[in-house]
Amino acid sequence: MLFIELVAQGLVQGSIYALIALGLTLVYGLLRILHIAHAALFTLGGYIGVLATNATGSLTLACIFAMLGAGIVGVIIYRLCYEPILRQPPFVALIASIGLYIAFEEAFRIIFGAAGLTYDAPPLQQYVSVFGSLHFSLAELVVMGSSLAIIAALGYLQTHTRVGIACQATVSDPQMAQSFGIRLRTVRDLNFFVGSALAGFAGVWVALLNNLVEPTMGSVPSYKALAIIVLGGMGSVRGTLLASLVLGVAESFGTIYLDQWLDRNAIAFALLILVLMVRPQGLFARR
C-alpha cells in the first residue's frame, strides 16, 4: 500500500513540476534561453492567488487573476530583458536571468514580508477516497486533473491551429518563418504569456497545497524545473511531461529510501547528472 501511496504523491508533485517546467520548455525551444526568472512568476502567481482569494473569496477568480498577472509580467520580462540581449552568447542571458530572479525574490520579501502569507479559509481541503484506501485532498485531485488537461490542450493547440503551427515554425527556423509572414515578436510574446500564465497557475495551487506563499517558494522549483527540461530533452513538451512525472515519483521514493544519503532536493540533480553523463542530449530527446 505504501508503494501506491508514494506513486500517487509523486504524481501530484510531478504534475506541479510539469506546469512550471512547461513554460520553461516553451521559452527554451523558442529562444534558447534558460529562463530562471520563470520561477519568480510562479511565486507571483502564488501571491496573487492568495491575495485575490482572501479578497474575493473565489478561487476561480484568483486563478484567472494569477494567470493574467504572471502572463503579463512574463511578456514584460521578455520585452525589457531578453529581447535586447538575444544576440549575446548564451551565458549572458542565463546570468541576467539569475540576477533578475534574485532581485524578484528579494522584492517579494521586502514587499510582502519574509514570513509569507496564508489563505484565510483554504478552499478544497475535503478528503476524497479513491480506490477505497487512497486518500487525496480535493485540491490535489484538481491539480492533477487540471495540469493534465492543460498540457493536453496545449499539445492539441500546438499541432492543430494556425497559431500553434506558427509557433512550431518559429522554433524550427525563425528566419524562414518570418519570410512566410509570421511576426516573430507576436509569437514570442504569446509563448512568454502562455508559459508564464501556466507558472502563475501552478503558483496558486502550490500555495493552496502548502497553504503558504513565501518569497523563496520559487527557488527550489526553478532549479528543479531546469533539471526537468534537460531531462525532457530541451524544448519537447511530451518529454517535459514525462520527465516531470518521473522526477515526482523518484523524489517521493527517494525521501523514504535515500534519506540517509541525500536530501530531497539533491535527488533531482543526482538523477540529472546521471542521465546527462549517459545521454548528453536528454532522456527523451528524439535526436
Binding site: P84, Q88, F91, I98, D263, N265, A268, L276, P280
Partner: protein
C-alpha cells in the same frame, strides 16, 4: 581596527575565490554555477583535519588536492556537455554537495562544524596571509593568461571546434582549467573556514555560487584586474553600506542583471571601451 582587519581578510578570500572561478569560466569559457561546492570541499577538509589535530598550514595542500580531484571529476562532465547543459550540470553539483553534507552526521549535518582550531597566527597575521595568498594567486593567473596555456584556453573559450581541428587536445586543457580553478577554490575554502571559525552546508550553496559568479561578471569575465576589483568591491559593499545589508541580495541580483543587460563585459569592458574611444581620437558617436 579589528573590524577593518576582518573585512580585509574576507576581501582577500573573496578575491582568491573569484579568481579561481575566473580561471575556469573566464579563461577557458566553461561556465560553472556550482563553484561554491569546491569552496565547501576545501573548508570541510581543512576544518576536519584541523579538528583531528593537524596544524592549519598542513591542511592547505590537502584541501587543495581534494577540491582539485573532485574538480577534475566535474571537469569530465564538461567534456560531455556544453554551454547550457554544463551550466545546469554544475548547478546540480552544488545542490548535490549541500544535499549530501546535510545528511552526514560525521560532517556536522545541518549544524555544521564550529570551534575550528586556530592557525597560530593572530588576526593581523592571518589578514596578511590571506592578502599575500590573494596576490600570489593573481600573479599566477596573469602568468597563466600570458602563457601558451592561456592562449589555448582562450581559443577553447572562443571556438572549441576550431581548436580541435588545429590538433589541440581540448579535453586535456579543459581538465587542467578545472583542476587549477577548483584547487584554488579549495584554498579559499580552507581560509574561509579558518577566518569564520564556523562552517555549515548553507554557506556553500547555490547562492554563494551565484555571488562569486556575480563578482566575476561584474568585474569583467576573463580580466584579472577586473575580477579582483569586482570581488573586492562586492564583498565589501554590504559592510560599507550598512543600510543595504538587508537589501544585499536585491543589489546583487540587480547588479548582475543590469550589467549583463547593458555591458556584458563588466567593469573591465567599460574601461576598455573608454580607453579605446580615447585612443580613437575625436569621433563622438561614430560607433554607436
Amino acid at each position: 581596527m579589528a573590524y577593518e582587519i576582518s573585512l580585509l581578510t574576507a576581501m582577500g578570500i573573496s578575491v582568491i575565490f573569484a579568481l579561481s572561478l575566473n580561471l575556469i569560466t573566464g579563461f577557458c569559457g566553461q561556465i560553472s554555477l556550482g563553484h561554491a561546492a569546491f569552496l565547501g570541499i576545501g573548508a570541510y577538509t581543512s576544518a576536519m583535519l584541523c579538528k583531528a589535530g593537524l596544524p592549519f598550514f598542513a591542511t592547505l595542500p590537502v584541501a587543495m588536492l581534494l577540491a582539485g580531484i573532485v574538480g577534475i571529476v566535474v571537469g569530465l562532465a564538461s567534456l560531455r556537455v556544453r554551454d547550457d547543459f554544463l551550466a545546469i550540470t554544475t548547478m546540480g553539483v552544488v545542490f548535490l554537495f549541500v544535499g549530501i553534507v546535510r545528511q552526514q552526521e560525521w560532517l556536522g549535518g545541518e549544524m555544521g562544524i564550529s570551534g575550528i582550531p586556530g592557525s597560530g597566527l593572530d588576526r593581523l597575521g592571518f589578514m596578511w596571509l590571506a592578502l599575500g595568498l590573494a596576490a600570489l594567486v593573481a600573479v599566477f593567473c596573469i602568468y597563466i593568461q600570458k602563457s601558451w596555456m592561456g592562449r589555448v584556453f582562450n581559443g577553447v573559450a572562443e571556438d572549441e571546434d576550431t581548436m580541435r581541428v588545429l590538433g589541440v587536445d581540448v579535453p586535456r586543457y579543459k581538465l587542467a582549467a578545472f583542476a587549477m580553478g577548483t584547487a584554488l577554490a579549495g584554498l579559499a575554502g580552507a581560509l574561509y573556514g579558518q577566518h569564520f571559525k564556523y562552517i555549515g552546508p548553507e554557506s556553500f550553496g547555490f547562492i554563494e555560487s551565484i555571488t562569486v559568479l556575480s563578482m566575476v561578471v561584474f568585474g569583467g569575465i576573463g580580466s584579472v584586474p577586473g575580477v579582483i576589483f569586482g570581488a573586492a568591491l562586492l564583498s565589501a559593499l554590504p559592510a560599507w553600506f550598512q543600510f543595504i545589508g538587508d537589501y544585499k541580495l536585491l543589489v546583487y541580483g540587480g547588479v548582475l542583471f543590469l550589467m549583463m543587460r547593458f555591458s556584458p563585459g563588466g567593469v573591465a569592458g567599460i574601461v576598455r571601451s573608454l580607453l579605446q574611444r580615447r585612443s580613437a581620437g575625436h569621433q563622438p558617436g561614430a560607433s554607436s
